[in-house]
């Protein structure tokens, strides 16, 4: 099912069609800002520079999004996005080196394109999307339900949760399942929508 063609492409579509409005910009920020930050941090940039770079990258992507031809089969949006971020980072390192007037090896372009690096980027994407999804669904569940889910996430068994909360094991199981279903659905939705 991994090569399942996403059907929810509205944000990307709208972005690609250059239909930029405040709603899209907000959604765009929500979708990609943290991911871009994580990528930049992953390229060994400190938090302060990473924040600046995240902003410039976001703007660069926003400006150039019309050049991206949406085609889920040939090139994922986040791959295209990754390339822009990488170029920004390389630019930044060059400038920083020039300022300090010292000659340091500038990472080769391929450095940020190798399969291992790509894997790291993918891993960041997963973490980003999954976390967003969980935050999105949190509002739909009661405190008890979320508590049960959180505890199970921390590795506690159903029995221990039961002991801690007094909720029956059967119910805990149902709670866990409901949250999980919602989370999976949301992850999938966001991945399709933003990916």
């Amino acid at each position: 099912m991994t090569d399942f063609t996403p059907t929810r492409v509205t944000l990307l579509q709208r972005l690609c069609n250059n239909e930029k409005d405040d709603i899209s910009w907000g959604e765009f920020n929500e979708a990609y800002k943290r991911y871009i930050y994580l990528l930049i941090r992953g390229m060994n940039i400190d938090h302060h520079d990473a924040e600046d770079l995240t902003q410039t990258s976001l703007l660069a992507i926003w400006e150039n999004i019309g050049n991206f031809t949406y085609s889920p089969d040939s090139c994922k949006f986040r791959t295209w996005l990754y390339r822009i971020v990488r170029n920004k980072v390389i630019d930044h390192i060059r400038k920083a080196n020039a300022k300090k007037n010292r000659k340091e090896d500038i990472p080769h372009v391929d450095t940020y394109s190798s399969p291992e690096v790509y894997d790291i980027a993918e891993k960041e994407w997963r973490a980003h999307v999954s976390d967003k999804a969980y935050n999105n669904i949190k509002t739909k569940f009661s405190e008890n339900v979320l508590k049960c889910f959180d505890m199970s996430m921390k590795g506690k068994s159903t029995t221990k949760i039961h002991e801690a909360t007094g909720i029956s094991e059967q119910t805990i199981y149902v709670y866990k399942q409901r949250v999980k279903d919602a989370l999976l659905q949301e992850i999938r939705l966001l991945n399709d929508k933003w990916g």
Partner: protein, 677 residues
């Protein structure tokens, strides 16, 4: 090598970084829980469509973003998790009011009952998880007609296309018994690909117009409200019809929508909402009074046809408007196709102009073709006229020669015909006449012999030849010829005719052969030759007729009188022994026995009384004065002989002679008895 080292370095660094990020989780909005991704991402990716739909049963629509807000309802952009598409979700702003809820669902129902490409489709309606009433419909991209018109890039033609689609939608709604009551450019959504959708059916209601007979039926369940449930004016100033603006409670009908359509057309033509220069109150009053600024004043360039349509649709009295949206649309389509519309009374000239306009291509093609054709024809004619002249000249020559040829041919044919006829005639003639001529030949022979005996050799020859021509086998004719040629002393000819006449036993043959041997066939004759011939006469004992023929022959005319007298004496001696040589002494004896010898001897008196029948030819001559004719004479021959004697004085006739023959003879006519012995 450097590259690999860098990668390793990067990997180590990123791992360290990960820890750092984790530490920052609490203070930054960049923080995240990595365990969730590790635990659930792959599983989520492995999720199938069936799982998605199953889990979306109770929570179909995602949280959405607000895209529009009106007086009664808000519209959100949401994802339908079951169908996977984005839709527009309408939510009631104040869901606590049961009347509003009723009205809300009423709109949803009405809208859902209309299935038309130009009416926004309603997908679903109900209460959501939060127990709020909602309905979903197609999410419309693009922009409203309001904005589209404001953009100067849209041409009137494009906007009129859109207007036709609006008419289609409204016309369809009317056919379903539904009137919109709030048609305005803001309620028309136009997609990026030209799809036109009439939306916001919030004021729409069922009308009695389903059946034409009940259009004005009082029993129609009509919501007649001056204002909407939330206290707003029902409709929009400028677009609402006069009857809608009226304070009186009047039933709203399809004519109301027709007015609104007219107002939309007004907006399209002028880019201005009718009466928008006034406040709502004044606008409503002016609407009631029909005081809308004419289109021409706002946009002088607007098409007269469209202005007429607009004004008709916006007529103050409903009965003056188009009687149906179909009619309105038909007029618009007429305009689009360049036909004169019903709203404007088209003159002949404007009709013609429109005809030319809508058939521009054809007219252009026809005109250019016509011109090219004519030019080509003229060129062609000019080009060929020269050749034609030559051709004509050649043709004339040909005609002339042909005529000549025909004439010649005709002549030829004529002559051939004549020739044939002649030939035919000739054939007929020869065939017919061969027999006839053979029969006729003896007649000519007789005539020839007659002339021969009358001592006219040339006439005799002529007739004998004629006889021969008629019948080449006639022996008589040939014999006649031979005899005549003999008298003419032409021995060769005479012998020839005798031979072909197969008359080899004639006594003439040896005589003439003897003559040929002695004298040859010379033309000039001599006395001796004649004398010798006389001798042969005696030798072969020829008859009187031969002697007469020879004596009277013109071939002897060369003899003088004395030669004649000598010849007479000598010849007499061949027949009768006599010693005398003097003619005067011998004359009586000669007259007594051979009187023919006296011819042309100058004798004055002839006494032929003793000769019973003798031809009187001998008397001819200048000297003859007295003639005693023989007893029996041939009347006519003798008369000729007598007439050939100019100096004749006395003639003695036998008493047996018929004197009638000689009546005209001017001489002394006496009888034998008068002759003195």
């Amino acid at each position: 090598m450097l590259q690999i080292d860098l990668q390793k370095l990067y990997l180590t660094l990123s791992l360290i970084q990960k820890d750092k990020v984790s530490k920052m989780e609490e203070k930054e909005d960049f923080s995240l829980d990595r365990s969730l991704g590790d635990l659930f991402f792959d599983e989520a990716m492995g999720y199938g469509l069936a799982d998605d739909i199953k889990s979306a049963q109770n929570n179909r629509y995602s949280e959405g973003t607000l895209i529009a807000k009106g007086g009664m309802k808000s519209i959100f952009n949401v994802v339908d998790k079951i169908t996977g598409r984005e839709v527009a979700k309408a939510m009631l702003i104040n869901p606590q009011d049961p009347d509003k809820v009723e009205r809300f669902f009423h709109e949803a129902r009405i809208c859902a009952s209309l299935e038309h490409p130009n009416i926004v489709p309603v997908y679903d309606t109900g209460y959501d998880q939060e127990r709020n009433p909602y309905f979903t419909m197609r999410l419309l991209g693009g922009e409203t007609l309001q904005n589209k018109v404001k953009q100067s890039e849209s041409s009137t033609a494009d906007l009129i296309d859109i207007f036709v689609k609006i008419c289609d939608a409204v016309s369809y709604a009317h056919s379903q018994g539904i009137i919109h009551r709030d048609l305005k450019p803001d309620n028309i959504q136009i997609g990026d690909f030209g799809e036109v959708q009439v939306c916001d059916w919030g004021l729409a209601c069922r009308d009695g117009i389903k059946d034409e007979d009940t259009i004005f039926d009082d029993e129609t369940k009509e919501f007649i409200l001056p204002v909407t449930l939330d206290g707003m004016i029902k409709g929009t100033p400028g677009y609402m019809s006069p009857e809608q603006a009226s304070a009186e409670k009047r039933e709203l009908t399809a004519f109301s929508d027709i007015y609104s359509l007219g107002a939309i057309l007004y907006y399209i033509l002028t880019k201005k909402t009718p009466l928008d220069e006034f406040s709502a109150r004044v606008a409503i009053k002016k609407t009631r009074d029909g005081e809308v600024k004419p289109v021409k004043e706002v946009n002088p360039n607007a098409s007269n046809s469209l202005i007429a349509i607009c004004e008709k649709a916006m007529a103050l009295k409903p009965e003056d408007r188009y009687q149906s949206v179909e009619e309105l649309k038909a007029d618009i389509v007429k305009y689009q196709h360049g036909f004169p519309t019903a709203a404007e009374a088209a003159s002949t000239w404007s009709s013609t102009r429109m005809f030319l306009k809508r058939n521009q291509k054809s007219v252009f093609l026809i005109c250019s073709f016509f011109i090219i054709f004519n030019l080509a024809s003229v060129w062609f004619l000019i080009n060929i006229s020269h050749k034609e002249k030559e051709a004509r000249r050649a043709a004339k020559l040909a005609q002339d020669s042909e005529r000549q040829a025909i004439e010649t041919l005709e002549k030829l044919m004529k002559s051939e015909k004549q020739a044939r006829q002649a030939l035919g005639d000739l054939k007929n003639m020869t065939q017919e006449k061969v027999a006839a001529s053979i029969q006729a030949a003896p007649r000519f022979v007789r005539i020839a012999n007659m002339y021969r005996t009358q001592f006219e050799p040339y006439k005799a020859l002529e007739n004998a030849q004629q006889a021969l021509a008629l019948d080449p086998n006639s022996k008589e004719a040939k014999t006649c010829m031979a005899k005549v040629y003999y008298t003419l002393m032409n021995y060769n000819e005479a012998i020839h005719y005798l031979t072909i006449a197969d008359n080899v036993h004639s006594m003439l043959l040896p005589a003439m052969k003897e003559m040929l041997n002695k004298f040859g066939n010379s033309k000039t004759k001599t006395y001796d030759e004649v004398l010798y011939l006389m001798k042969l006469h005696r030798k072969y004992n020829f008859g009187n007729s031969y002697l007469e023929g020879l004596i009277y022959s013109p071939s002897l005319n060369f003899l003088t009188e004395s030669q004649r007298r000598k010849l007479a004496v000598e010849t007499y001696k061949f027949y009768y022994n006599s010693k005398g040589t003097d003619f005067s002494l011998m004359q009586d004896k000669i007259e007594r026995y051979i009187p023919q010898l006296l011819y042309a001897t100058g004798v004055k008196e002839f006494n032929l009384k003793l000769h019973k029948r003798i031809k009187t030819h001998l008397i001819r001559g200048l000297n003859t004065e007295i003639v005693v004719l023989p007893e029996i004479i041939v009347g006519s021959a003798t008369l000729k002989d007598l007439e050939a004697c100019p100096n004749l004085k006395k003639v003695y006739f036998s008493p047996k002679t018929n004197m009638q023959t000689y009546e005209n003879l001017k001489v002394e006519k006496l009888e034998y008895k008068d002759f003195a012995q």
